[in-house]
């Protein structure tokens, strides 16, 4: 089987996510589980430049989690990448923890920006990309958004601005899990035309299966060399990897009970056996 190493990490991240949210008693499992392969590709697929020993290394690529409710997935990935201790993951959402429900860059300096209000990450990334061009720096900016977040007016303002400034160092990624709190993105507003909108605004769009490492890595490598803003539209499954959470909107923002977590972890451990070698 290909990408065994990455699949193994993804499985570990999913187990961490379930443990963290269960311990916290609240959080967003659905949207955390849907973006695991995207994050693992970026951090472990040789896409992002970073140095856990020097988190503010000037030449690092910038990653922004605009869908900041996916914080548990990012925390687990950053811990796995060596930025901070694995034990700290279980402090998620607890009083005095560095791991806020949505990331806080002052408390937790391994994220590029604080977040939590949807629709803000894309334009923060544009600011960073413009700063890189102004300072003649080579680093690139990656922004992970949700599909629901495409409804935000500020996201559309950013879509315009990125094209105006011909940003060749900005890659937007959409974790298109097709569900948001009140229902399906299609029913709530319009998930169907997201890709068309990016194309119409002048972006390059690459559509991938957001759980397939081969497609994700190819897309990222291609995107890095395209001389205009690129949107990687990643089709994903909300709650991916835990059968009873998959495609169920009620798992957007609810913690599993201890019993449910046990079932989920057993399922993930069973899956992990496939990657043991």
């Amino acid at each position: 089987m290909d990408f065994l190493h990455l699949k193994k990490i993804a499985n570990q991240i999913r187990q961490d996510i379930i443990k963290m949210i269960t311990e916290a008693g609240s959080g967003h499992p659905g949207g955390s589980l849907s973006c695991v392969e995207i994050l693992v590709s970026l951090y472990f697929g040789d896409i992002l430049k970073y140095d856990p020993q020097n988190p503010h290394w000037e030449e690092r690529d910038r990653f922004i989690l605009s869908k900041a409710h996916g914080a548990p997935a990012l925390y687990a990935v950053l811990s796995q990448a060596g930025f901070f201790s694995h034990n700290e993951l279980l402090t998620l959402r607890k009083i005095n923890s560095r791991l806020q429900g949505h990331p806080d860059r002052i408390k937790f300096p391994y994220v590029e920006t604080s977040g939590g209000a949807l629709g803000q990450g894309l334009s923060i990334g544009i600011g960073m990309a413009l700063a890189a061009l102004y300072q003649k720096k080579d680093w690139q900016v990656f922004v992970l958004m949700s599909d629901g977040e495409q409804e935000e007016g500020s996201t559309m303002e950013g879509m315009l601005c990125a094209v105006k400034y011909k940003l060749n160092n900005l890659i937007g990624i959409i974790d298109a899990n097709r569900l948001q709190i009140d229902g399906s993105v299609d029913e709530i507003m319009d998930g169907e035309t997201i890709k068309k909108r990016y194309l119409a605004f002048g972006w390059e769009v690459i559509e991938v299966n957001g759980h397939n490492f081969s497609e994700l890595l190819d897309a990222f490598k291609k995107a890095k060399n395209i001389q205009k803003p690129v949107c990687i539209f990643a089709n994903t499954i909300k709650g991916k990897g835990v059968s009873f959470m998959e495609n169920k909107v009620q798992w957007h923002g609810k913690a599993p009970t201890t019993k449910e977590a046990k079932i989920a972890l057993e399922e993930l451990k069973e899956e992990a056996k496939k990657y043991a070698n």
Partner: protein
């Protein structure tokens, strides 16, 4: 602080505080390569046209995307630049408040939020363009510094001070031309108020170009035998608590003056501090819970009770209260 002939109103040079910003930002552009300007389709009005022409590579026209502008500025600041983002207060920071709150203030991003058009004195454009709630909103946001200059000279100084300060700052400038009455060489410091004129009976604490109206009121009041101390309070947050306590102890009555809603404004900040530390009677000159309307700024100041005439009225009222207060 005051220039020598400050009380000869007709002889004073008049310039808008936004013009002071325009001159200072141009100078900063020459000195500091990290300073950049963002603007939402208002380059001329916000007085950044000269900056734009001198430093096209440092000027970012954002069009009418105020939310995007605040976020782009935040991203630039997090990458080491010092962005000044410019618009009218009603559009930015009021129109893009959630972006300002989360991505600038919570992030402690080194962004300077500039409003060239603030207060009811914006004038003929009418209520939609007259920001009279911005001080209340911005001073409630953690990490935010709130500054407003009393004249053109001070406008230049607060712009330079904001650039030196590392963190979010809201700079409140005004559109209309108003007298220049402070000295070029006097200093400005964030967190400091200045006594412009000494007096023993009442302290008039004012901000923005209405400081001059307060000075005119003090002049007239002297003829009635009332000696008012005039304090210019450009640093609404952080507040110069020591100075305010000092003047409260000396005069034992305060009138606050601002081109802003009374609810939540500079006067509220003073009252909150004074009520906890040295309670004395306070009266407020400001907009009384209503929207503005079209008219020239002098007409508006008269109609909405912001001019020297009304300041005098409030002084007389507070002195009556002070008399009763002292008898208790």
């Amino acid at each position: 602080m005051l220039i020598e002939n400050w009380n000869q109103k007709d002889k004073l040079q008049i310039k808008a505080t936004r013009d002071g910003f325009g001159e200072a930002i141009l100078e900063l552009g020459k000195q500091n390569s990290n300073i950049v300007v963002l603007c939402a389709d208002l380059a001329e009005s916000t007085r950044v046209s000269d900056f734009k022409n001198s430093f096209p590579e440092k000027f970012f026209e954002m069009g009418l995307t105020e939310q995007n502008m605040a976020l782009v500025a935040a991203g630039m600041a997090l990458s080491g630049l010092i962005p000044f983002m410019c618009s009218f207060a009603v559009f930015s920071p009021i129109g893009n408040l959630t972006q300002v709150r989360v991505s600038i203030a919570y992030n402690q991003a080194n962004v300077k939020i500039v409003s060239s058009h603030s207060g009811i004195s914006v004038g003929e454009d009418g209520a939609t363009h007259q920001a009279i709630e911005d001080i209340a909103i911005m001073r409630a946001i953690p990490n935010m510094v709130v500054l407003t200059p009393c004249d053109f000279e001070e406008a230049k100084k607060i712009t330079i001070a904001a650039a030196k300060y590392n963190g979010p700052v809201y700079l409140r400038f005004e559109r209309q031309k108003t007298p220049i009455f402070t000295k070029k060489e006097s200093t400005f410091e964030i967190g400091k108020a200045q006594i412009l004129k000494d007096g023993k009976d009442v302290a008039i604490i004012a901000c923005g170009s209405l400081v001059y109206e307060a000075l005119l009121a003090a002049n007239d009041l002297e003829k009635e035998g009332i000696y008012a101390m005039i304090i210019n309070n450009p640093s609404i947050k952080p507040l110069d608590e020591n100075k305010i306590l000092e003047v409260a102890k000396k005069t034992r009555s305060i009138v606050t003056v601002e081109d802003h809603q009374i609810k939540g404004g500079m006067g509220s900040a003073i009252a909150q501090f004074i009520s906890q530390n040295f309670p004395v009677p306070i009266e407020f000159v400001g907009i009384n819970d209503c929207f503005g309307e079209s008219g020239n700024f002098e007409e508006l100041r008269a109609k909405f009770n912001l001019d020297s005439h009304y300041i005098k009225e409030k002084v007389r009222q507070v002195l009556k209260k002070k008399g009763r207060f002292n008898k208790r």
